[in-house]
Symmetry: C2
Subunit: 554 residues, 2 copies
């Protein structure tokens, strides 16, 4: 087996550090020509009709807008009226052969797809940058190498689950009148068609786990990208179709279903009886709709959340503020893992720089943000661009929600003058405010003044139970407070980071080691990745016979 | 760890023979006094109020009728109006302590519950016999030792799944400016309250997988028995509560919610937000309702099916007919694994006794049934009693569905003159009939005359895809037909038995080796037992920190 797969299988058990796809875009790693070639490959798509095969399509759709102001004008196949039947039929056609190939062979082909994507990682990074608004290095990592690592991780999980049972057995039951012997075979069969519904901000990172989990367990996958972030997934489908063909499988095992406004493709696809697995990243409203309206499918959702930070005390005030500043600034807080609510007791936080009030903490974080962002040319490489008008509008109205403790400011991108770039804002509110109790996606976070750390913890529990969270964070020098928070995190089912002051950030999760989402609170009904994320994507079907009647097949 | 648990963990991977609970009720195994003591213990319940603790209950309910005509008149606690709130609260109260005990300790306690039940296995067998109508030995095995083996099996699966990840890790990421080190802990947390909805025919065998899967993964379990089969699960809950108390846990981690007519308990419980896992055995209609109406819960259902047998040819005609006769006769066909539809080509089946028409095959099976049942005293130990008036009525109307090829006849039980006991009937129909396309639960099976084995296989595929099946069976001497059938079984997702002529029967599945249900066709959305049956019952919640900030806890 592929050495990387072996190491991935070990890492998901040990949770130790592992990576198969180098995260540095440096020419020392990828060669001197890679960056320019990738950019050129990306730009060659401009104005073209993208080369993927979508059965049931007729005509094209061009729906993307670049947060950096580029006009890529790339067209993708659009399903014709009634084209869904054709698409679903074509997607299913290759399933028996793909099933019969078996887990190891499927994993081999999936790894070849990852390698094909890795060979195009600079092109992929530009595609992610200019659809999501992520800065280039963020896009290279989160949208490229980290996404590939999460894909390899899920393939490792799926193989562990599929290999759990022997594929044949000789069952011998001792009896008084001699042994009873039965020979049995056990075959992994796919659940059915998979549907992956992509999002705008992390089109690959959030789609690859579901895509490769379904594919490696034998299910064809229809990829429905966000209309504003088609290219990264179109490249992915193109690479998959090419590898599948080259390896002798039906290329339509992976297809792209791009949609225009009002096409309702996700709803129509998710409720088809043939679609038995749905992976979704997006709004809570549509995620919950899918959970309730597609009972024929196993539905995995990642939705919205209100990620809390409880500030109780620290012996490294500067480290704490720097760490939080980076989290708030990275990709302008447009991550489902960005902290939204910073709970600070009214009598302040005990620190190595003395006691700090809510306003002090906000000011210090604001200062740290400014230090971090420094020159505009450096700032844009951390902030990226605002992904959509909706996020910008939310930011612009944030001052109505409370007291502006740290103001957002616009930054002009030296290379992309049309890009909308903003620093994060911090809004001060009281514990009784409703403003912080639902997700305010983007560069808007709240400093919530509470009566005490006890109330902060109570609010952590209530807001996470009500509105969900992918991450939670606590700063305290009290072992008691840390223990209580840890217990609360278990109770509410949220991943906890404690006293992060160094080069690890609450909004980052490492493949093979950190679980992204738990499935235990409203922010997600699944985790990247655990056994439950893969085990429901296939079934085991057995056959059995007396050994004397005929020989074992194969 | 318990030696049995180690062996069970090995067996579920190898699928080799294993059993931890001896299936023979012989005094050589269980001692000379066990049978009489168990019967006495069973009879001591008569006319009593059963000793279980059900928070929220007030008053009693007495709902059981014995298919053997006994009048046990046992009363169980009945929830008062509004008592659900109290029950749900009490069930949840012990969850944090149970969670903190960890997987190994919970498994230990669950095994102690199995041992407590095993010590009462004769009492349990009588309870199953006199609620389900199973004959004593069937009840002892299916309702006692085999149910305990399925429970141990599921505990083994759950431990494999919970132990899959390390519970702590030191994550070291190499970097140019030194290693980045994070210490992490990973904790298994329960999903929430479990609900187990029992059935009338296999109150323990079909409930134990869900009950112990939920319990060992940290979830409290509310057991809602079928109103006609309360005692076996009441004994189970009583044993669990006693063991939990003795081991220092909240006894209400397992509770009994008996219901009266019209109490709607299953619906009301399944849709409570606190209930996050539902295990159900019963009708397709209610199973599908649960799948669609409890999106907050992971719902595992076992529903109805139309188990097919394709008869193409055999070189052991007598063995084939004897084997089928046993399957049809055992517990009067009141098993979700009993074959319902025997597909025979119009030009007959090639056998070592010459070519046999549908009528010939039916007659031979009828003859085999009569030989098998022989004396009434022997017959009743195979047939058991008819579980309910609905099954009897279905049998009595079966002659309207087609030609009666083998007639059912009543048998009088030498010890229980009021027991309703019937031999199975075989009804002949054409392939175009609708009669065989839905489940006809009980001692009614069909001989379906088809145009050819090809049509038989087509009908296997269509009926299983439409109405589901737990088992499928084929008799053929053609390797080609066997291969095609095996492929069909994979495609429709049904467990296949090939050419069973010896002491293995299609309606029996062995714990640790045979999967019961696949989840891949309408008869069940889950399997006893695979990883998917356990992996969704818990979450993994992590916490992480810099190693220098504080020591690892614990």
């Amino acid at each position: 087996m592929d050495e990387r797969l072996e190491q991935a299988r070990a890492a998901i058990r040990s949770r130790n550090y592992y990576s198969a796809f180098p995260e540095s875009p440096s020419p020392r790693v990828y060669g001197a020509a890679a960056a320019a070639e990738g950019k050129a490959a990306f730009e060659r798509h401009f104005g073209s009709t993208f080369g993927v095969s979508t059965p049931g399509a007729s005509g094209e759709i061009c729906s993307e807008r670049s947060p950096y102001g580029l006009q890529p004008e790339i067209s993708y196949p659009r399903l014709k009226a009634g084209g869904l039947d054709e698409l679903v039929k074509a997607a299913a056609a290759g399933m028996p052969t793909w099933r019969d190939a078996g887990p190891k062979r499927r994993a081999e082909v999936c790894l070849a797809v990852l390698d094909a994507l890795h060979a195009r990682v600079f092109e992929l990074a530009h595609a992610v940058q200019h659809t999501s608004g992520q800065a280039f290095v963020t896009a290279f990592q989160a949208g490229g190498t980290h996404a590939l690592d999460r894909a390899l991780e899920v393939i490792a999980y799926a193989l562990e689950a599929m290999d759990f049972h022997a594929d044949r057995a000789r069952w011998v039951k001792p009896g008084r009148s001699g042994d009873l012997v039965v020979e049995k075979t056990f075959t992994v069969v796919p659940r059915g068609l998979g549907l992956v519904v992509g999002c705008n901000t992390f089109p690959t990172w959030n789609s690859y786990p579901g895509l490769f989990a379904s594919l490696v367990t034998g299910n064809p996958v229809i990829v429905k990208p966000h209309p504003s972030a088609v290219l990264p997934l179109a490249i992915t489908v193109q690479a998959a179709q090419a590898v599948l063909s080259a390896e002798g499988f039906d290329p339509h095992l992976v297809t792209l279903a791009a949609e225009g406004d009002g096409d309702r493709l996700a709803k129509d696809l998710a409720t088809r009886p043939e679609v038995r697995v749905v992976d979704f990243t997006g709004s809570t409203a549509f995620g919950e709709w899918l959970e309730a309206h597609a009972p024929q499918a196993r539905v995995y959702t990642e939705k919205a959340g209100v990620n809390p930070v409880v500030l109780d005390g620290t012996d490294d005030y500067t480290g704490m503020c720097d760490n939080l500043a980076f989290t708030l600034a990275l990709y302008s807080g447009q991550m489902c893992t960005t902290s939204q609510n910073l709970f600070v007791p009214g009598d302040g936080v005990e620190t190595n720089h003395g006691r700090k009030s809510s306003a002090d903490v906000a000011a210090s974080i604001g200062g740290a943000i400014e230090r971090l962002l420094g020159e505009d040319s450096r700032a844009v490489e951390i902030l990226g661009a605002i992904v959509s008008p909706a996020v910008l509008e939310r930011l612009e109205r944030a001052d109505r929600l409370g007291e502006v403790l740290v103001a957002s400011r616009p930054i002009t991108h030296p290379d992309y003058p049309d890009a909308v770039i903003r620093t994060p804002t911090l809004i001060g509110v009281g514990a009784g405010s409703d403003a912080y109790r639902s997700e305010s996606f983007g560069p808007v976070s709240f400093v919530v003044t509470t009566a005490s750390t006890a109330q902060s913890l109570e609010l952590l529990e209530h807001t996470v139970a009500e509105a969900g969270a992918i991450t939670a964070s606590v700063y305290s020098t009290s072992e008691h407070v840390l223990a209580v928070t840890r217990d609360l995190a278990l109770r509410t089912g949220v991943a906890l980071s404690e006293n992060l002051t160094d080069g690890v950030y609450v909004n980052q999760s490492a493949a093979y080691s950190d679980f992204h989402g738990t499935g235990a609170n409203p922010a997600a009904n699944a985790s990247y990745t655990d056994l439950d994320f893969v085990a429901g994507r296939f079934h085991v079907v057995q056959s059995r016979r007396h050994p004397s009647v005929q020989a074992m097949p194969g």
